[in-house]
Subunit: 212 residues, 2 copies
Amino acid sequence: MGSLAGVASTDSPGNGGRRGRRPGDSGTREAILDAARARFSGEGFRGATVRAIAGDAGVDPALVMHFFGTKQALFVAAMEFPVDPTEIVPRLLGPGVDGLGERLLRFLLGIIDELGEANPMLGLVRSAVTHPDAARMMREFLGEAILDRIAAAIDADRPRLRADLCASQIVGILMARQILALPELAAADRELLVGIYGRTIQRYLTEPLDSS
Amino acid sequence: MGSLAGVASTDSPGNGGRRGRRPGDSGTREAILDAARARFSGEGFRGATVRAIAGDAGVDPALVMHFFGTKQALFVAAMEFPVDPTEIVPRLLGPGVDGLGERLLRFLLGIIDELGEANPMLGLVRSAVTHPDAARMMREFLGEAILDRIAAAIDADRPRLRADLCASQIVGILMARQILALPELAAADRELLVGIYGRTIQRYLTEPLDSS
């Protein structure tokens, strides 16, 4: 589980002219992150370009890529995700779709239960439900960084719909267990929920959608 | 499906001294609703008493009951629910738990798809995710008006946990199909989703929770 610090300190390879941090790096990095947050919020994940973000921060686009490596990784750092989904999703998908439901749930309930109010997913959900621009940003980032990747691993009809179905149960768990804190669900044993919800997710991933 | 107007114009029986509306009723009714919104928001559904709401509105508690019948119905009117869950839930539960998943989903997706941005559930979710007091209010009202009633109809272990599990999928559908508008889920045929999610809800209601 890469921490934010781990994500943030990543130096991408392939930029031989730069070696590690210079005294001014920290301020520059913050300026890039501020510019990224503003652009992503205003223009969505797809609309905001690295070039425009670099321009706002007064730096060269190559420096943005030097610090962050990819636009997805820049987004993850700007939004202060506790973990980097671009690392986590491939790891969860690694053993294949078999058992993915339980692996995903064990990971997600761990995040929800252990981070509590410090869970940055909360801030994203709060923004998404109150600001249409933030909802678009979430939709685009979730789609590209997580749901399209899950869909690509599914060997069944309508793979992206299946990924969206999984997302609908997962965001509902966050809402019901943490935000609304429905009493029996909030108190339920985590491994019991891993089993119950894991089966739901597995069904969405692999079983026939139309059983009629 | 009772409209808000239908809910709002309900006169409860059993108060023989009053007959229909008097010229001043409309202003009094609005004053009660304003007081109710403030009390429910600040003190939760359980904490806010009809007596305190009546006091804030400068009327007798009996008049509040004359207008609204029950505290739940007062809440429904104050929150401008499009439908009255205290009417809907017993109707959906009427034929028993068999097939409840599909009945519930067909009803809910109808609300979500037909009301769009006019869906007052959106306002409640927005408040709940941004204000802890609103989350408590939702939790208490949902619990008493909907989830405890569903739990009472379930003939299986841990009935209230089962109702909470259903709520977690339903709020997730609202989030994913309408608020985040995940593309394949937002575009999916409603009856396909009634089948898919109906089976999930039915499983939460009736099947063994611990399959290990």
